[in-house]
Amino acid sequence: MTKYKFTTVEEMPPLAFSLESTREIPTGSWRHVRPVYRDKNSPCHVTCPAGEKIPDYFELVRQKKYKEAWYKILEDNPLPGVTGRVCYHPCEGQCNRAGYDGAVAIHNIERFVADKNFKNRKLPAAVEARKSEKVAVIGSGPAGLSCAYQLSRLGYRSVIYEADHEPGGMLRYGIPDYRLPKKILDKEIKDIEALGVEIMVDSKIGDNVAWSELERYDAVFVAVGATHSRKIGAPGEDLKGVYTGIDFLKELSTGNVPKVGRQVLVLGGGNTAIDAARSALRLGKRVTVLYRRTRVEMPAVPEEIEEAEKEGVHFEFLVTPVKISGSKGKASEIELMKMQLGEPDESGRRRPVPVIGSNFSMRADTIISAIGEEPDLSFLPYSFLRKGIRLFVDDEHTTGVPGIFAGGDAATNPNGTVVNAIRAGKEAAISIHEFLGWRSRSNGVSHDAVKPEEVNTFYFPHEGRVEVPRITVQKSKTTFSEVNKTLTEEQALTEAERCFTCGTCLHCDVCMTFCPDVAISKDESGEYTIDYEHCKGCGICVNECPRGAMELVPEGAREAVEEVEHI
């Protein structure tokens, strides 16, 4: 500070004046709360079972860096072309934009990114050094594929044993073409193979490959899915014209169109039932789905039920089969009983109870029973713990037998979805890595996600969710070609722009713009610095941040402050 010294009255100015800047006054001492930059999780990321870094890859999409966006997804999920089509997208259910003007169409953008990279592509190489250990994976469904893929990223060689003639599990033999074209699946499986994952098809453990064969591996991941249809337990189940949903769909997907009569009845309320119904409809039949509870309890994805309805599938609720009868060994009629909803069962859904004396019959040329699938664990030695019909695993996917891990539909706590199988594969790969003596980088997803009220919606003008392009219902109900289309680039960009980018700073300058104390500055690299010498802790920056990427912490709580700064 310059000192002004006046030795005579004449030297003094006629008025008092200031030549120093208040910059010398440390008004930061007034502060009792401190703003800090702190990136937080987005609810979509926390909710996505695969743990995709959704706001991060959306930002790459907005910059039209589609390859980088794809790579970002591939860190967590090797099958974005699949999940972008068939994932039931729980992420969107938690999207902070949902309550504003409609959730961001996350899975459609995921699909756009995958499809944009359909041609001329190569997966990034392993992230970790090559290891000498080898891992066996049983089953090439999404759980097995995801595990083998993550293991190869970690530097391991793995071999997948697949009972069927082609890999993919339910992705190939369950989900029909009109939702997931085979060329998408084939491409993503090829990519995984290109990383060095070996897939041995026609190799069923416990059948043509002995369990003991696996002893030469350092670890095993059991991902055999739930491939056996549950029996309805009604007389006549074995008549001709009665299919299980899984068999029916498998036949279709291998190109052998099953024989079906004009009137098709589908028993069940899950995805298999809906897919079987929509497939039969595409064969030009009249199709009715019979379900023992009501529409709200149906476990199938609501959007799929809606689609089925639009295409002309009929529904009968609160009915259960009693007996199938027919002539000359072929089914022709089904006897049903009416149900009503009673007390909630362990799943929380109201239990259906029979209405005595309400039996009635319906004509049925073909009956498809799709009341659920169970794993076939008969190949496993008895030493394995089971829980109900499934193989018991803990949160780390260990079975209790050292070196043997399991996940996906075959193991406990699946929720019977593709993305959960992908999650199981990823988590199991990390567990195997640790079992083999390595320390893995923390995968811990912290669950504190940005809440809707932390988003400052002022900064986001209303813009409705994208209308997903699709072929007309008239057309869709007659063909197995894909119903929903990929977003156009323009649509994908508009949709990605809708994302609030919850919790990740986008360097939008809003915090800096509104600081009354000029305490925020930006350096050449684009990073912000808060001048705590002068910040008074008003909190405007934190409150105005459009996306909850800042936080106010109590002043003086040094540990809290330091912890936050190191994130």
Binding site: Y4, A16, F17, S18, L19, E20, S21, T22, R23, E24, I25, P26, T27, W30, R31, R62, F458, Y459, F460, P461, E463, T494, E497, R498, L506, C508, D509, V510, T513, F514, P516, D517, V518, A519, S521, D531, E533, H534, K536, G537, C538, G539, I540, V542, N543, E544, P546, L552
Partner: protein
């Protein structure tokens, strides 16, 4: 469309370390004004919070010369400073009178009217925090109906409506008149820059929340400013030559209640009183609306808003500048 963003002039003329309360709207007003005007500016400040905010001798936060003057004399002092600069042949430096609502609506009104009538060539910014804050929250004629201040306690809150300073100034037919808000810094800066390029008397009325005076958390300053605009309590407008009205932003029209509920100074109000405020706001809005009702110019300016182009206002700017110059010459001659 994505996120709304602001591109402000990067130069920070205002220094930190000033004496404003946390979350002060008046301080943001100054920060944006100096960004808009740049360093070739002289500021004249009468007695008000800003005489304190700028800092104690020998410190100053403004980063440009500041002349502190008596409560009632912002406009007359600024007239003098402008004449002094002119006398020295400096026609470039901008003179900015920066006064509170007390110094503008009340005690400074006579000097303000004089300067406006003489069409003095400077910018007058009134940062309106709706009371005498510097001396401890006494009512001013800018305090809104129903508000608590230390001189209008909750048992008998302010019974009169806020004085309509805009219409008073419009009646002076000054070349440029605008309202602005700290929640819309891009709009405020554009208006101040426009004012800078116009000769003659320019008045900008800025809505500037005061956390301790209005009793709200400092972090909500911007939110409250935004709600004042969106609820039509404080419309963002421009008036050219006191005659041509243009709306700068179409408000969403949120209930006034939402705005009022954010502030402790309105806590005592019952539903009936809030109803009166809403009715007043609606009536004032309709009256204002009628002034820029479907004339050719207005539809043009709306189109500008949607395309983000400023073309027609620039053209209007030119004519205005001519008018202003003519008038300025007349007043000097």
């Amino acid at each position: 469309m994505g996120q709304i963003k602001y591109q402000l002039p990067p130069d920070e003329v205002l220094a930190p370390g000033h004496f404003a309360c946390p979350g002060c709207g008046a301080t943001l007003t100054m920060r944006y004004a100096l960004k808009a005007l740049g360093r070739k500016t002289v500021v004249v400040i009468p007695a008000c919070c800003w005489s304190v905010i700028d800092g104690p001798v020998p410190y100053s936060a403004a980063g440009v010369p500041v002349f502190h003057t008596a409560f009632e004399t912002a406009a007359s002092t600024a007239s003098g400073v402008k004449a002094g600069l002119d006398a020295q042949g400096d026609h470039e430096t901008t003179v900015l009178a920066f006064a509170g609502d007390g110094g503008t609506f009340d005690i400074g009104l006579q000097a303000l009217s004089g300067a406006a009538e003489r069409n003095e060539d400077f910018i007058y910014i009134c940062y309106d925090n709706e009371a005498y804050m510097n001396t401890g929250i006494q009512r001013s004629s800018a305090t809104p109906f129903g508000a608590w201040t230390t001189t209008t306690p909750a048992v008998s809150p302010k019974a009169e409506k806020k004085k309509n300073i805009i219409e008073i100034l419009a009646a002076h037919r000054i070349p440029y008149l605008a309202t602005a808000s700290v929640a819309y810094p891009d709009d405020m800066i554009a208006k101040i820059r426009k004012a800078k390029d116009i000769r003659g008397f320019k008045f900008i009325h800025v809505f500037s929340p005061c956390p301790p005076g209005w009793k709200f958390e400092p972090e909500d300053s911007i939110k409250i400013s935004r709600m004042a605009i969106e609820s039509k309590v404080f419309p963002l407008i421009e008036i050219i030559d006191g005659i041509d009205y243009a709306l700068s932003k179409e408000p969403d029209g949120i209930p006034v209640r939402d705005y009022i509920k954010m502030q402790g100074r309105f806590r005592h109000l019952n539903d009936e009183q809030i109803g009166i405020i809403q009715a007043n706001v609606t009536e004032d809005w309709e009256r204002l609306r009628a002034k820029f009702a479907p004339t050719r110019k207005v539809s043009r300016s709306r189109r500008d808003e949607s395309t983000g182009e400023n073309k027609s206002s620039q053209t209007r700017n030119v004519t205005r500048t001519k008018n202003a110059r003519k008038r300025a010459q007349k007043s000097r001659g």
